[in-house]
Amino acid sequence: MNKRLRFVIVVTAWLAVAALPLAHAETVLHVFAGGPQQRTDLTRKMFDEYEKRNPGVKVTLESGGATSELQRQYLSTVLGAKDSTLDVLILDIINPAQYYAAGWIEPLDQYLGVKDAKSYMSQYLPAYATADVIDGKIVALPDFADSMFLYYRKDLLDKYGVKPPTTWDDLATVSQKIQQGEKRPNLQGLSFQGAPIEGAVCTFLLPYWSQGKDYQAGIKLDKPAAVRGLDMWLGMVDKGVAKKNIAEVKTGDTVNEFMAGDVIFAINWGFAWDLFQTDPHTKVKGAVGVAKLPAMRGGQSATCIGGWQWSVSAFSKNKAEAAKLVKFLSSPEVSKYLAVNGSLLPVYANVYSDKDVLKANPWYGLALPVVESAKSRPVTSRYAEVSDVVRTQTSAALARVNKPEATVDEIDSRLSRVMR
């Protein structure tokens, strides 16, 4: 064989192999679907359903990030590098503003054929319509709603003849009564998140909002109110209601400890209900009640709005297909599926009263008004900074490293430029 012929054969073979991917006319969408609290197992089932209905599209699921801020850090790296490996992303409710400002997510209006963003988004709960529309453009569509509730041991409260508390003081009294009655040394009265995770921002803001205050760009932090909030949490520790190392407790820890039967009252998100009922390790099935969060003395019950959204990466190579998938994932059908199978709160008001949904989650009757009145953490393009300062300082205050007054001063001074 002469040299020329050999050269031609090698080049042709190389080109043929290189062109092989093109011969595959299938679209593959890569989705970052979050961590265990976003129920990636249910998401996978939704993807299987989508693949069935849309032959020629394959959806791969990537999961990661045990907590919200870890996911944010991961996505910052991928999107900051303008990497096109991810097509669809799941975002915590606080992230769309920052991600859109950084140019990382793609507005969906043209792909959805929407002219008026406001009227399109009016089908969803108002909080998500606000979070997902930036500069008049739809940048994400809601996956499931979330807010924080007070889970309690119905069986223990009935045993001692007490009703679910409506104020934090009440909760402490009820808790102490039950703890003294049960005489179990490791029975916690109240479990909440004190670790420096995203949820700690809510821990800081819950009693603050309960006093009727708000914390957004342009609104000054009411320091005495914030101090009273931190004092309330520390009071729970002093009274033996919350454990001393509460600054180590993450969302998953509260869930696990409540599930093991070691906690009377737990503050957690909507997804926990399903785990308490269906997880193979649960010891509290059928003994769980759900209530609104208690209020501060003289205040109103207030809760943190959470929830997750789907958006399309600005660097995706399959934006139209990705937008179609996102539209499917935020449809009423998927919302009902997630509510029935994972107690993930729906983003459509009418799904709350669907009878299948109510059968699986009898407490959804009280859930809808709670979600509708839930308050939003500061909406700012520099939220990562706000979150970092508030959660690390709050955790340090709960670990008694700094006094509440010093903590609040530190938060205020460090965020004064961001929250201007």
């Binding site: 944010r72 900074e385 690390t392 955790s395």
Partner: protein
């Protein structure tokens, strides 16, 4: 092809070659330059360009969330860094961690190396035990130690309780969190130092010990007069590696405490990471990185001078 007539250079009596001839038929010097060029280019791309870019970025207010605008702010970022108590805290933590873990790892590593150097019948289990901590990824070591020091479920508090003391909230108090991080780092890095020192120990000829014993030296005197002086080169090598790595401490405190209770265990590398990756503040992050670079250079210079003197 006829060779060109060389022109006469009036300054020297050597005939001047044309450029074509220099490359086609190079002298040794030109050949050396040509062969080094690709490597130099590669190095420039991988080392010089990122550092230059880093210094360039530090003069701008460049943020991920800022969209396309990146105003030039000259030395404002540096002024901010030098007046930022979080920066000084991180710098102090880094220096403290370096001093504690370098000395600690050296002492523990020396002990391990001496133990490993004893005449065992089967040597490989000892070598393996010495090698394993070093082979484990830093992040794993950090997560494992985070569980060890967990207040409720940790092994350390289990022992403490069994011995009759009250368990501590290790990772929640600044002092104990810092100690826990140092313990984890010393555990991890002493095996590396132990390996280097073991190699050094093996090079010391047995005859010296035998001679010392004949002269009536005790084991301790043998250690002081024979082992230590001959081990000094290995110790210096180990110290250099360990110090440079210690200045970059990130993985273990990050996975153990995420910066600990209110920045108590936050090192410079962690601060740069959170500023750049978490906040997306590239300008300020670059400034911090440049400052860390200066600190590293200063420390390296000290060691280099020491080496040159030898």
């Amino acid at each position: 092809m006829s060779s060109p007539a060389p022109t006469l250079d009036v300054r020297t009596s050597q005939p001047r070659l044309r450029l074509v001839d220099r490359i086609a038929d190079p002298s040794e010097r030109v050949l050396a330059l040509l062969l080094l060029a690709p490597a130099a280019l590669f190095l420039g791309l991988i080392v010089v360009y990122p550092i230059a870019r880093l210094i360039y970025n530090s003069f701008f207010d460049l943020r991920m969330s800022g969209g396309q605008s990146a105003p030039f702010v000259a030395f404002e970022n540096y002024a901010l860094a030098l007046t930022d108590k979080i920066f000084w805290n991180a710098l102090w933590n880094t220096v403290l961690v370096t001093i504690i873990t370098v000395i600690g790892a050296l002492l523990v590593g020396l002990g391990l190396a001496l133990l490993a150097n004893l005449p065992y019948r089967i040597r490989w289990p000892v070598r393996l035990a010495l090698l394993l901590p070093w082979a484990m990824p830093l992040a794993f070591a950090g997560l494992i130690f985070a569980w060890f020091f967990n207040t409720d479920y940790g092994v350390i508090n289990d022992w403490v309780t069994r011995l009759g003391f009250t368990p501590l909230q290790w990772l929640l108090q600044p002092g104990t969190a810092f100690a826990a991080v140092c313990i984890a780092i010393i555990w991890k890095s002493s095996s590396f130092i132990g390996l280097i020192l073991l190699a050094g120990l093996q090079m010391i000829p047995r005859s010296l010990y035998e001679a010392a014993e004949v002269d009536g030296a005790t084991r301790f005197q043998q250690f002081r007069e024979v082992t230590l002086p001959l081990l000094v080169p290995s110790i210096v090598v180990a110290l250099i590696f360990r110090t440079i790595t210690a200045l970059q401490t990130f993985d273990i405190p990050y996975t153990m405490t995420k910066g600990g209770p209110a920045h108590a265990t936050e090192t410079l590398a962690m601060l740069i990471h959170s500023t750049t990756i978490d906040y997306g503040d590239i300008g300020y992050g670059s400034t911090l990185a440049v400052l860390m670079f200066i600190v590293s250079m200063a420390v390296t210079a000290v060691y280099l001078r020491r080496l040159q003197r030898d």
